[in-house]
Symmetry: C2
Subunit: 175 residues, 2 copies
DNA sequence: GCTAGCATGTAAACGGTTACATGATTAG
DNA sequence: CTAATCATGTAACCGTTTACATGCTAGC
């Protein structure tokens, strides 16, 4: 989960850990801060895997910076992950957002479109939220309580907006 | 994360593990299945904590069922968690949804409203997604690439729908 | 005879949170 | 002088995923 944004941000330019932390936090609207205990081990993993090179630079006040650069292998790893996301990166709202944030790095518009299409297919499968155990659609007014009606209403609005955007974007990518 | 839906579903009636698994999965629109390796240890934790009693019943085909019943202490634990959610249960979409699914169990409408208000306050704080590092609002057309524009557009639509619902719901709860 | 569904569990590995630890610079 | 920001790290703990393990019943 953390590795994708690390690779994604480093694709554009070398950065050190602290900068990565800022940017990853911004990706969630400054809502989900990245803990050091998650970030630095993730960097170490990627470095061990050969995706990252590092060199130190004097810090702007404070400790030495470990500036991280993406290797060719790291660049390939990023593109592979963007091209072939795992199913939970398609179905999970938050993970899919992370994917979207870096999808522009995929050089081929057809490959970008394929990812969007997977998400659209997922949002269109009726195996979902809006159907009860027997496959009957659940009406917005049906759930017994105020709160479940709210869940349904918000989920519907979100789905509608996202499907509309995905269709437009797909049209733009494959004119 | 798993403990809340377990307590929530058992609040209504005794269930065994397999049934809990089905219901928790349905809560996510059958998208996020619950693994046994998460469910059974979670049940054990809650039983050890005194939130659950269990007795066995013959299964409908196959193994014996361990039917779980909420204790008084478990009932209190659930209500406490609903009354005073942690901040990440307010800010995280998925977690907040889980909260909503069981919020009807809180007996006092004023307490229900307080939870909705926290979510509304969170959605209204401008420390968010839609503002850049200097606090300036980001326009929907501004981001450089198609995909980031999509993220923004969908996030906006979602936020608008949810805020509208929250305001209506709050009006209904405190007439 | 075989597969899908019912039903429960354990163990290893993984990734994340929280807490601990250090230390320099800059703005109030 | 002191708090915030910059900057990096480790260690204990926790919950989840994944894989392994077992076995019965009902329908094809």
């Amino acid at each position: 989960m953390l590795e994708l944004p690390i690779l994604g941000f480093l694709y554009e330019q070398p950065l050190h850990g602290y900068e990565l932390k800022e940017r990853i936090k911004a990706l969630s609207g400054h809502v989900r801060p990245v803990s050091d205990g998650a970030l630095y081990p993730a960097i170490t993993r990627l470095r061990t895997a050969g995706s990252l090179d590092e060199h130190t630079e004097p810090g702007a006040g404070a400790a030495q910076r470990r500036v991280l650069t993406l290797t060719d292998s790291g660049r390939t790893a990023l593109l592979d992950r963007l091209r072939a996301p795992k199913q939970n990166e398609i179905s999970d709202q938050t993970r899919f957002n992370t994917l979207l944030a870096f999808l522009r790095h995929l050089p081929d518009p057809a490959e970008q479109a394929a990812v969007l299409r997977r998400r659209l297919d997922f949002l269109q499968t009726p195996a979902s939220f809006f159907y009860d155990e027997e496959g009957r659609p659940v009406r917005a007014e049906e759930p017994e309580d105020l709160f479940r009606r709210g869940m349904l209403r918000v989920a519907r609005a979100t789905g509608t907006a996202e499907r509309a955007w995905l269709r437009e974007a797909l049209a733009e990518l494959a004119p």
